[in-house]
Symmetry: C2
Subunit: 173 residues, 2 copies
Amino acid sequence: MAYHLLQHDRKGAQHLGDALTSALASVRHCRRCNTFAENEICERCASPRRDASLLCVVETPVDMNMMEQTHSYHGLYYVLMGRISPLDGVGARELGLEQLVARALDGVVREVILATNYTNEGEATAHYIAAMLQPKGIDVTRIARGVPVGGELEYVDSGTLAQALRERRTCSA
Amino acid sequence: MAYHLLQHDRKGAQHLGDALTSALASVRHCRRCNTFAENEICERCASPRRDASLLCVVETPVDMNMMEQTHSYHGLYYVLMGRISPLDGVGARELGLEQLVARALDGVVREVILATNYTNEGEATAHYIAAMLQPKGIDVTRIARGVPVGGELEYVDSGTLAQALRERRTCSA
């Protein structure tokens, strides 16, 4: 890309350079949800139409967008910008989890929904956060694991099926 | 396959024909779980080591094998040998659901676990069975829906994510 810009599109290169410099100068982290934002508080956190009693914890801004695309969540978010990953030297301190705890204890949040990935690191992160928040009297929930919508048992891996069996739920009448 | 057998493997063809004929004569449905069996009661239903208070309802013998491969289920099964599918002319009567009801009301079964697929037909079948059994005082549960084990939010469809959010559960401390 660099060669192409330097050889064929020097104006484009200038434009890209300016855009990056200005993004670096203006994009920061929202003081409430920690996602990328141009203002101190991002639009979503500032919106009076969101349910401030729900706080959904996700790993990345992309995951936040995924949650938004379901059109079934109307609470607020906290974006970790990572996950606990000892092999990469990322522990609770590096992830800044005390900022999340402070955010969750604002007195308005009633329930923290952990929507980290169902990978090992995501699971470890969720356990760690639950252990931090539950003693403070906050309801901590985790998005469900199981068979995906439209899924057939024949094509589901046995780990998922075992989990779906373990977490079976009573049918509503 | 037929051409190959007739041209190159006439002995194999005879063998296959005999095997099919003998299977047709000896394979029938287990009187208790409805799966294929060579005896009146299949080995699994006859085993004293299975937990007879749990009855897992699946669509096909393949699904039963999938459940067995999880190594985390030790109850008994009922195999529907199909699913409710109005477009194919299969309703509750064609599926023989009254046989399942009789099986579930044997006095030993405490919980019926519905492990039909999460397709439209599988869901309809599960709802129908739940509506038949719940008034009789049997606990009816459904395997969990949600994000598969190892799954990342970024690659999960939004229907599954919405479901996982709706069916979120309290973290165990």
